[in-house]
């Protein structure tokens, strides 16, 4: 462990997590959120992107009482506590679903695909789910 402590913090990589799935229909959204929160504990440069149906993960007013599943939408609020501050939502995906930034549970940077392209190109590791 000591060796890791010594060598670990010097290597900071840029990690980007790309969320492309809607919540609840599959397990991808919840699993990716957990991975991001775990990874954030390792002091890496973390970005989170919500793209395609992934933008639906952040929709306000989720109420899962009747489907008997855990409502994990509030957990996105913990990203800020873990110093994950680079949170991007693709503009085109949001608009295609008739949603705006006001519909989302956390403050995000709404970014057009043209600009997201550049942010994505700067990453060392990109993990999509």
């Amino acid at each position: 462990m000591e060796e890791w402590e010594e060598s670990g913090p010097e290597v900071v990589k840029r990690f980007m997590y790309v969320n492309r799935r809607a919540p609840y229909g599959t397990i991808y959204a919840l699993e990716c959120l957990e991975v991001v929160l775990i990874a954030a504990a390792f002091d890496q440069d973390v970005s989170v992107v919500f793209l395609d149906d992934g933008v639906c993960q952040l929709k306000k007013n989720q109420d899962t009482t009747a489907i008997g599943m855990k409502n994990f939408s509030r957990t996105y609020g913990a990203l800020d506590d873990y110093d994950v501050e680079k949170i991007y939502v693709e503009k085109e995906s949001l608009e295609a679903r008739g949603l705006t930034a006001d519909d989302l549970v956390i403050p995000v940077e709404v970014i057009a695909a043209d600009d997201l392209r550049d942010v994505m190109a700067q990453q060392d590791v990109v993990i999509s789910s």
Partner: protein, 103 residues
Amino acid sequence: MNSMLHLINKSPFERTALDSCLRVAKAGSSILLIEDGVYAALKNAAHAIKISTRMEDFSFYVLGPDVAARGLGDTPLIEGITVVDYEGFVDLVAEHEVTQSWL
């Protein structure tokens, strides 16, 4: 008895289940949107025209609990789609001779 109940549980943005169903299903059939299929019911979404232009051909339903789970309870849905609960789901299955799941 009505002919067929079609179940769509995939997002129309990600999969072609709804498109194929709308192409193949016989007029007079019923289509129930469940799970991620409920995103097809969003009135202000780009694809809303797929359903809104077929209202005369099909009876459309959407499962309320799945709408609420996804935070869409306060979001406008396409006019003419009937929201049903689990009991309504059971009634629809009982009212149709055949149920087809478009997995």
